[in-house]
């Protein structure tokens, strides 16, 4: 078998490209799982909150705590990967986003309606930013669903809570499903 250096170089480039695609796909899968988790949590929080408003904000706090714990579990599971290293950086981003969110949800003196839009749109902003590195689908998801949240804020009227539940919770679940298959 005779292989020229040019052929060997082309084959190695092919191998590297395939490996990069597989790694990206695995990263999408892991972020997709976390995205679906938070979508399901937001959906449940809002639906339970609509059914039993007097339990709010306890439901929201319990759901968020559950989400953080489950996210940590998913990230720790990912740490056994040799090749895919999301954990610490993603964890740091989560912490910063939560810190920013808690700071401004307190300083901003938002009402319940504003808070319902603020939290998901804060994380959607993170997805829009991440899309600059991870792919245009992330940015599109962040921008489109932020727009839908704002549309609900201004025009959903009495259906606002249901709108937020479906757009934020349902949107994250659907995008997570897409990421797992991408």
């Amino acid at each position: 078998m005779t292989i020229t250096p040019d052929e060997a170089g082309a084959m190695l480039a092919d191998v590297d490209a395939i490996i990069a695609k597989v790694k990206l796909s695995r990263m999408y899968r892991r972020i997709g799982e976390i995205t679906m988790l938070w979508g399901a949590i937001m959906l449940l929080e809002h639906l339970v909150g609509m059914a039993a408003p007097r339990w709010w904000p306890g439901i929201g706090e319990a759901g968020d705590a559950l989400g953080v714990a489950a996210t940590l579990l998913l990230l720790v599971r990912g740490r056994s990967d040799r090749e895919v290293r999301i954990p610490l950086r993603l964890l740091g981003a989560f912490a910063l986003f939560f810190a920013f969110g808690f700071l401004w949800s307190d300083l901003g003196r938002f009402g319940p309606r504003e808070l319902s839009v603020f939290w998901p749109s804060l994380f959607l902003f993170g997805y829009a930013l991440a899309g600059l590195w991870l792919g245009v689908a992330f940015t599109a998801f962040g921008v489109v669903f932020s727009g839908l949240l704002l549309a609900g804020y201004f025009w959903a009227g009495q259906a606002f809570d249901l709108w937020i539940a479906l757009v934020s919770g349902g949107g994250f679940v659907l995008f997570g499903l897409w990421m797992r298959r991408a």
């Binding site: 078998m1 190695l12 395939i18 695609k21 056994s80």
Partner: protein
Amino acid sequence: MAAPDDTIHQPVRLRIMAALTALRPEDEGLDFARLKSLTGATDGNLGAHIDQLAKAGYVEVSKAFVAKRPRTTVRASTAGRAAFARHVTFLREILASS
């Protein structure tokens, strides 16, 4: 100098092995549809190449029904991982010696 591997050398089979060895040994592998999109091969072509790799003992193929639909999953065997590593070393040596 490492020796070339005649089975892995073929471009589609090289792509298949690159994709499968990018996973951890304990992972379940890649399904047929995913491999098809990664390698750019047609159904028949991909199936034939997977058969050749399986005959060489480089991949393990499992078939199952998921939601009433057949699903073929392929994963690299230990021998396949070693053979792929040797072949990549061979290619790097050619490049280095130029």
